[in-house]
Symmetry: C2
Subunit: 492 residues, 2 copies
């Protein structure tokens, strides 16, 4: 079986056995079966527990995988660590080709018992020749086929965190932290109801299958545009770099990485978490640099960056090509100042307007307050003038968009919007979204004002794949990664 075939089996099994299935609704072995059935797993599910009888979620519980008559593709382990080796033997005997071992308590514990169990697995599987393994010490794999709101909701949900709200999208996760197929992923999906995922794969201690095989698969999977990765160590640095570079030659494929274990105490943490010996920091930096992967420094950044790229790919926006010229439209000079500083600190800049664009702006602005010659537009006086002349703000904005985004040096736009229910009719969000969608350059919004109205406008924008932020620094970083990615792609 090729690597892509085996990953395909882990992502698209036709039948699964859940080892350690439990009727007790406070146990992980219960939640896994719940998650699978609730989310309409289309294949066969066999709950296995030698100490239980009867049915759970309408499925008959069996004592052993050997009691199953039909073929089984995958075994999902949520049993105590000490019984894993014996049951793994039975899985091999049954001809099961893959196991997702969520159970913890192997080399990461650092005790003799943990190491002994690891060695037993290596022996029983003949170094993973007899059965392929994802984990141990992971939180399963999820494949999102359809949104939770659709009738055909679900896919393959094998983690013990039970998912209720999700959206299918173009992001795949590869993670050494189980949380990214559990509590944190749930939080992100509720925080950004627009963000959509295709897969989430947790790989745990990864003695067998690792980031490498999943990455290889996702490079060829056209449903995946963005790959969000959390690693505590690199399984094969040379191959990782090779795959990241290959990604740059594939249209609409962006990799984002968070690396854990950068410091001495971070390394101690990875050792006790996934038994990972994190590389020394120089090597880590070299790997990241050579790979050209987009780097995130926390889970928060990882998903915010993933969301931004996902939106850009969904709408076919053109990533900035020429080196970071942008324009700013603000209603606050203070915000404009901070934003100008942040942009320059990130290597971006505010180009000067050509005469034609500047003339248009001069006409829009009152004579007592002419516009800047560089691409920082404090729109307030122009809005006052427009109001006097009964011109709607979205019409005014369209004039400004057309004037400044025609400038070739300006490859993107930051637009501040004051959100107040009282002013809603004045800025006509639908018009603004229409205008934004018509332009191939990225337009990001910075929202302030009434919190409820900010949430409302932010959601409207997100539904149309338009990124918005309430934090200037985050907005600039999320634009800056587009410039980085475009630069990396051009170097290939």
């Amino acid at each position: 079986m090729s690597n892509n075939d085996i990953i395909n089996l882990f992502l698209n099994p036709k039948s699964v056995a859940v080892i350690g299935a439990s009727k007790n609704p406070l146990k992980g072995g219960n939640w896994i079966v719940n998650n699978l059935t609730l989310n309409n797993f289309k294949g066969e599910i066999y709950p296995i527990n030698p100490n239980t009888e009867g049915k759970m979620y309408g499925l008959e519980i069996k004592k052993s995988v050997l009691d199953i008559e039909n073929e089984v593709d995958l075994a999902i382990f949520y049993s105590p660590n000490k019984v894993v080796p014996e049951i793994l033997k039975e899985c091999i005997q049954k001809g099961i080709k893959g196991a997702i071992i969520q159970t913890a308590g192997f080399q990461e514990v650092g005790t003799d018992k943990g190491l002994e169990l690891r060695d037993q697995i290596l022996k029983i599987t003949d170094n993973f020749k007899k059965i392929r393994i994802v984990g141990p010490n992971c939180m399963g794999i999820t494949r999102f086929d359809n949104d939770s709101t659709s009738e055909e909701k679900g896919g393959f949900f094998s983690g013990f965190g039970v998912f209720n709200n999700y959206k299918r999208g173009n992001i795949a996760i590869i993670s050494q932290s189980g949380m990214l197929n559990g509590g944190y992923l749930m939080y992100i999906m509720e925080k950004y109801p627009d963000i959509g995922f295709r897969y989430s794969c947790t790989i745990g201690n990864k003695p067998d299958l690792s980031e490498i095989e999943f990455l290889e698969y996702f490079l060829e999977d056209s449903t995946v545009n963005v790959i969000a990765i959390y690693l505590e160590s690199f399984k094969d640095p040379r191959k990782f770099i090779e795959l990241c570079r290959k990604a740059k030659t594939i249209p609409k494929k962006t990799l984002i990485l968070v690396k854990g274990g950068l410091t001495s105490q971070g390394k101690k943490a990875t050792l006790s978490h996934t038994g990972s010996l994190a590389e020394n920091s120089q090597l880590t930096e070299a790997i990241i640099k050579q790979s050209g992967v987009i780097r995130a420094h926390s889970f928060h950044e990882l998903f915010q960056f993933a969301r931004t790229f996902s939106m850009m790919y969904n709408t076919g926006k053109q990533l900035p090509q020429k080196g970071g010229g942008v324009a700013i439209i603000v209603g606050s000079g203070g915000a404009g100042t901070i934003l100008a500083d942040l942009l320059m600190q990130h290597g971006l800049n505010l180009p000067l307007f050509r005469d034609k664009a500047y003339k248009t702006l001069e006409e829009i602005f009152p004579s007592w307050m002419p516009p800047n010659r560089f691409s920082l537009i404090d729109i307030w006086p122009a809005m006052e003038k427009a109001q006097k002349n009964n011109i709607n703000r979205s019409v005014l904005l369209k004039l400004v968009y057309d004037a400044i985004l025609g400038e070739p040096e300006i490859e993107g736009l930051f637009n501040m919007l004051f959100c107040s229910k009282r002013f809603r009719q004045q800025y006509n969000v639908d018009e603004m979204i229409k205008n934004t969608n018509q332009i191939s350059k990225p337009i990001f919004f910075w929202l302030i004002g009434e919190a409820k109205e900010v949430a409302y406008i932010s959601q409207l924008l997100a539904n149309n794949n338009i990124p918005s932020f309430t934090n200037l620094e985050e907005m600039v970083k999320n634009y800056w990664i587009l410039v980085q990615e475009s630069k990396n792609q051009n170097q290939n």
Copy 2:
């Protein structure tokens, strides 16, 4: 009149004239009177407009300040720039001692007309000897006496952004960006319903009164613990440094600064915003370093930092004294790893446990998964064991708190909490809050899980002045500033 007396007049006027008051509900001159009356300004309000007659908000509109019979403390200008000099003459004639000029269109415009108006003001006021000025080009001053939910709501609300939701607290703002007494402040107060302010003072182009006089006043005002400052230039760097250093000798007094105009394009922005010639970056860095002020890099950071200090002072928490030893409690090894890295990158560390503390932890953890010897606690296995023994999570947490926070090197704690309505009964938030309040060391929470439950728990914590975050980087930065502030205070 001493500087403190004049600032006192601007913060606590007994009577105000609003120049440019308008009956049109779409104009700033209307909103100011609305804001004052809605928020129960206790003194006299005189709307002034030579082109209008009748009443607004129950107040008779007069043609000129000279038509007012009684004494007037302050004039608030929201008139076209070109009429400011003439009306200022009348104000002087009337004996008005201070003017808040919100009108823009002076030196910041960069036109001859703007500079001419500035010069006229200098001449008419005899260099601010005849009347003292806040602004021009600002958004007024607010004094918060009582929460918006109380019957006695309000104070002195002179900006044109009409405030509906606010809380009185121990934070004062000094800002060259009007937004911080307008849309952005509204956003912050709705985002953090627990955050409370005492004053917000926007100073605009500050040819007369500046950050210096307000800062001097707030150092002596015991209702103010935290001073959040946004500057585009320093009016008097030497004096600024002196006042910041003086603040370090006053208990419960912390200054936080965002400086705009750090880069060449940021400087161009300050010039067109408040006519400020921002210092060159070396000088700026030197001033900030010598002042020992806590530095924020964006408005978002400014208010998050202010909120954290506000909470610490409200609860009398002890700022870390010994150099940054902390403990982590997580339910996710990945989060623990990232957090350990972030801590070390900020100069913090995870001390080793003494035998006594470690013994307690060993008893709490299952034998198959012993705890770390350093202060990163992955609580999951201990929670499973506690569940088996029917021990509530909040009881377990209390045992851990008592064991590790007794260690002298551990001066603070980061606690991860998975928020799920289903698990609410298991962690007993009220108990947890009680435990947290009993400990004098700062305890910060990192919340993940269901978004609604995160918001619910976050609010419960905030109501008790316990900071919580959903972003690991932000949590570490907000703790790191406590270490910085404590270090600065000790050096004095």
